[in-house]
Symmetry: C2
Amino acid sequence: MPDADLTTADENTKQGEEARGPGRRLHGAIAHKLGTAILSGKYAPGDILSGEVAFAEELQVSRSAYREAIQVLTAKGLVASRPKAGTRVLPRDRWNLLDPEVLGWAFAGEPDIEFVRSLFELRAIVEPAAARLAAQRRDKADLKAMKDALAAMRRHTLTTEAGRAADRDFHKAILQATRNDALLTLSASIGAAVNWTTQFKQRARALPRNPIPDHVKVYDAIAAGDAAAAAEAMNVLVDLALEDTRSSMED
Amino acid sequence: MPDADLTTADENTKQGEEARGPGRRLHGAIAHKLGTAILSGKYAPGDILSGEVAFAEELQVSRSAYREAIQVLTAKGLVASRPKAGTRVLPRDRWNLLDPEVLGWAFAGEPDIEFVRSLFELRAIVEPAAARLAAQRRDKADLKAMKDALAAMRRHTLTTEAGRAADRDFHKAILQATRNDALLTLSASIGAAVNWTTQFKQRARALPRNPIPDHVKVYDAIAAGDAAAAAEAMNVLVDLALEDTRSSMED
DNA sequence: CTCCCTATTTACTCCGACATATTTCCTGTG
DNA sequence: CACAGGAAATATGTCGGAGTAAATAGGGAG
């Protein structure tokens, strides 16, 4: 049972607009709290969060707020509610792990290293193929977006937030060039995951090598329309990230 | 604006448990209605669904029900609500297209053929790589699950629902053998999409070729632990589906 | 004539109570 | 002793109202 009160919910009412924090609404804060609890394993699949009124009292909020939070969790496939039976945590394979918010919850506490590995493995599968398609379908605007992102990466290093944002922009530009909405959505999730990992572990040694030349190789191949070279160049990039993840697993 | 009343919501109260219909709850029905409206383009990104009370009256439901529905849409990244500004439809790149429910909404009306193509393209990228991993990591239980699914596919043909379910089970067993939760979640979405397409267009000519031998080749390669052969065999499978999608685009 | 400050309108957010459906337990019968 | 039917208990689903934050429009000053 959650013993902590919801004093953390007070902060979100203060910060106004587009905060990325625990949730800018009351029910958002509750969803964050419950979501992290589920993702961290505090509530295992099959457990029932019985007692709508009990939880509402526990969290010092009205039943409506608690109910809206449950609605969010239900929408993401984490729980399912049935009258009398209570709210049950669904099995993992029903969870929508690719949801950016769920990803945030997964990385809020101690992220499961196996899950991080699976995400980078997925990235290693998708991005080279995306680079291949981008090489075939990119237009001038796409190339300009990639070029701008590269320039920004050179100005700021990857140790700064601006530099990491430029890195994300570069990959996003590639995904946009694929003219594939499903891929684009997927990349948004993966990008968020990568962002969370870098934010979680601020390890300085994470950049053992200058990433710019590898990125330039990807760009050149896409600009030249060489699909095979683009896929191979991107393969080098993501394999480096995958290796980095594997090495950090041994810590 | 939605002119139809929500009499369709009555049916969901009757059917009890795990119905796959428009929504087994009232707010679920509203979310379905609004979700399909957004996915079909009836409400374009940037449009505001202003008037909580107006919509609630329009739909003949209470504000709470409408509000819960909006909460679901918000959780899936389709809309964002702010005081005074109203509820605004977010740009497409914020949408969680991989959410099974969103996929259902996309296929509820006239599915966008470009989007269907992008989904099958994603499948063509992911599944061969998944087969490769499965060949390296599968154990006896995985192989048994695949074998059982194959047997079920032989018993029922793909023209029946049971046969298609067996097909999904086969692919799911492969994805489970990858030991990759992110891939598994993704395959659930893709499987739902494939299911929706077959359900949407009941074209008899969609099966020009006996799919069993191709599936057996995938199974044999995975059982043998031959990663390259597994990837190639799966490639044949998904390329056939992709070609089928492309040909149906010309209708 | 333009810019800034203020007040009003507007629409979302939160709250507490009522109605309803379902599960479980108990009792009676075969 | 086992099974079926009914009643009670409990959680979910629904409803209308009050509070609050924000955007727009209007007025005043520069």
